[in-house]
C-alpha cells in the first residue's frame, strides 16, 4: 500500500469514528448537536498538548477522550434544561465558543494552532491499524447498543421523552450517557487526528466540520449504524477520488443535506428500506 492510500484510509477511519460518535447522540438518543467538532477539537488539543509535554501517546489519547467527555457532560447537563430547538442552537453556540476561545489563547498557539506534534510511535501502518481497529470497535459497540435495552430506551427518548418518563425511563441519565459516550469517542478521534496530521489549527474544528459530520449521519440515515458507516466512507472518499469535487466539497455536503432532508429524511438507510419493501412486494406479485 502506498503512502497516499495509507493516509486516505486513516482519514476514513477517523471520520467513521466521528460520524458514529455523533450518531450515538443524535441518531440513537435523538439529541441534535450542531457543535460536534468542538469535542473533536478538545480531544485533539488535549492529546497534542500532552504528547508535546512528553506524555505517551496512549495516555494522551485517553486524556483527550476524558476531556471531550467532560465538556460533553457539561453540554449534556445544559441540554436537559432546554427544548429541542434550543438544543440545536446551544450546541452550535458551544462550537463557536470553543473556536472563539481557542483562537485567542497564546498557549494553544492561537490562530496558528499547534505544529510539530510528535508521531504516535506506531509507524504509519501500525497507526492505520489502530484507527481502523477503533472504528471497527465503535461500529460493533454501536450495533450492540442498538440491540441492547439501552438502545431500546434511547429509541423511546428519541421518539417522545415525556412518554418515556411515564414508562419509568430516567431520561436525564440516559441522555447524559449518550452525550458522554459520543463525545468521548469524538475526543479519541481528535487525538488520533492530531497525531495523524501532526499539526492542528482551530479551523479544523469549526462549524463546517460539525456540519460535515452531521452530513455523514444525515445522509447515512439518522440512527442507522450501517448507513452512517457507508455515508462516512463515501463522503470522505468522494472529494478525494474525484479531485474536481474537492473544490465543491462544501457544495456537495450542503446539497446532500438539503436533498436528503427534502426528499428522504431517513437517508440512505431509508432508501434501502424502501427498495427492500418494494422488492418484496414485486416478488409477491403473481407472475
Amino acid at each position: 500500500m502506498g503512502a497516499y492510500e495509507l493516509s486516505l484510509l486513516t482519514l476514513i477511519g477517523i471520520n467513521v469514528l466521528l460520524a458514529l460518535s455523533l450518531n450515538l447522540i443524535t441518531g440513537f438518543c435523538g439529541q441534535i448537536s450542531l457543535g460536534h467538532a468542538a469535542f473533536y477539537g478538545v480531544g485533539a488539543y488535549t492529546a497534542a498538548m500532552l504528547t508535546k509535554a512528553g506524555i505517551g501517546f496512549a495516555p494522551a489519547l485517553v486524556a483527550g477522550a476524558a476531556g471531550a467527555a467532560l465538556l460533553g457532560l457539561i453540554v449534556g447537563i445544559a441540554s436537559l434544561r432546554v427544548r429541542a430547538d434550543f438544543l440545536a442552537i446551544t450546541t452550535m453556540g458551544v462550537g463557536f465558543l470553543f473556536l472563539g476561545v481557542v483562537r485567542q489563547q497564546e498557549w494553544l498557539g492561537g490562530e496558528l494552532g499547534i505544529s510539530q506534534i510528535s508521531e504516535s510511535g506506531l509507524g504509519e501502518t501500525g497507526f492505520l491499524l489502530l484507527v481502523l481497529g477503533l472504528a471497527a470497535g465503535v461500529f460493533a459497540i454501536s450495533l450492540y447498543i442498538k440491540r441492547s435495552w439501552m438502545g431500546f430506551a434511547f429509541d423511546s427518548i428519541a421518539d417522545d421523552e415525556d412518554t418515556a418518563r411515564t414508562v419509568g425511563i430516567d431520561v436525564a441519565r440516559y441522555k447524559l450517557v449518550a452525550f458522554a459516550l459520543g463525545t468521548a469517542i469524538a475526543g479519541v478521534a481528535g487525538g488520533l487526528y492530531a497525531h495523524y496530521a501532526r499539526i492542528i489549527v482551530p479551523d479544523a474544528f469549526g462549524f463546517t466540520v460539525s456540519i460535515s459530520i452531521l452530513a455523514m449521519v444525515v445522509v447515512g440515515g439518522i440512527g442507522s449504524t450501517v448507513g452512517v458507516l457507508i455515508a462516512a466512507v463515501l463522503l470522505t472518499l468522494m472529494p478525494e477520488l474525484f479531485r474536481f469535487i474537492n473544490d465543491y466539497k462544501l457544495l456537495l455536503y450542503g446539497g446532500l443535506l438539503l436533498l436528503t432532508m427534502r426528499f428522504s429524511p431517513a437517508g440512505l438507510a431509508g432508501l434501502a428500506r424502501l427498495g427492500w419493501t418494494a422488492g418484496r412486494k414485486a416478488e409477491r406479485r403473481p407472475a
Binding site: 429541542a84 442552537i89 453556540g93 458551544v94
Partner: protein, 286 residues
Amino acid sequence: MLYLDLTLQGLIQGSMYALIAVGLTLVYGLLRILHVAHAGLFTLGAYIAVTVTNAAGSLLLAALVAVPLVGLAGMAIYRLLYEPILHRPPFVALIASIGLFICMEEGFRLVFGPYGNSFDLSPVEGSVQLGALSLQTVEAATIVAAFGLLGALAVFAGRTRIGVAWRATVTDPEMAQSFGIDTVKVRYLNFFIGSALAAVAGVLVALLNNFVEPTMGSVPSYKMLAIIVLGGLGNVKGTLVASLALGVMESFGTIYAGHIMDRDAIAFLFLVAVLMVRPQGLFGKA
C-alpha cells in the same frame, strides 16, 4: 467619549442585527422553523446591490431591484423547501435550511468569485455631525432605516387588516383559520416581508463596508439564532431589544474581553449563560 462612541457603534451593529433577526423570528413564530438560510438572502441582497449599482450606476435602482427580488426568493424557499416538509420533526427543516445556506454561499462563490466585490465608485459618502459625535452617512442611514422600517412594520401589523390577520396567525394559526384568514397567504407575506428586510440589511452592509463576499452571511446566520432565542422565539419586541443589547455588548466586549475570546464568541457565551438561567430565553416565548 469612548463609552458614547462604543455605544453608538454597538447600536449601528445592533440595528443591522435587528433588520435580519426580525424575519427569522417571524418565520419561527409562524412555522417553528429555524430558518438559517435567511442569512443567505441577506448576502443575496448585498450582491444584487453591488452588481446592479456597478452595471446601471444607480444605487436607488439597485435597492429597488434587490429588496423585492429577495422577498420573492424568500417566498420561493418557503414554497419549494419548507412547505413539503412541514409535517416532519423540526430538525428536518433545520438541517435542510443549513444545507440550503451552504449551497447559497457556495453558489455566490462560484458566480461572483471567492474574493469578494466592491462598488466601482463609492455611492454614498460624507458624514453627519451629531454634537460632538461624527457618523458616516451610511451609519446614520442604517440606524434610521432600521428604526423606520421596523416602526412601519409595527404600524402595518397593528393597524391594517392584513397586519392583524398576520399577527392572529402567528399567535394561533387554527383560531385564525377558523376566522376565515387564509393562513397560507399569510405565510407567503411573512416570508416576503422578512426576506425583504434582510435584503435591506444586505444593501446597508454592502454600503457600510463597501465590500461583499460569499461568506458575509455566515456569522450573522448563526448569531441571529442566538438573538432570536434570547429575544424569545417569535417575539418581535424581544428580538429588537436583544439585537441592540448584543450589538452594544459586543462593541464593549471586543475592547474589554477581546483577549479571552473573539467578538463572535461573545454572543454565544451570552446565549449559553442566559439559557442556563432562563431556559425559555430572556423574554419568554411566543
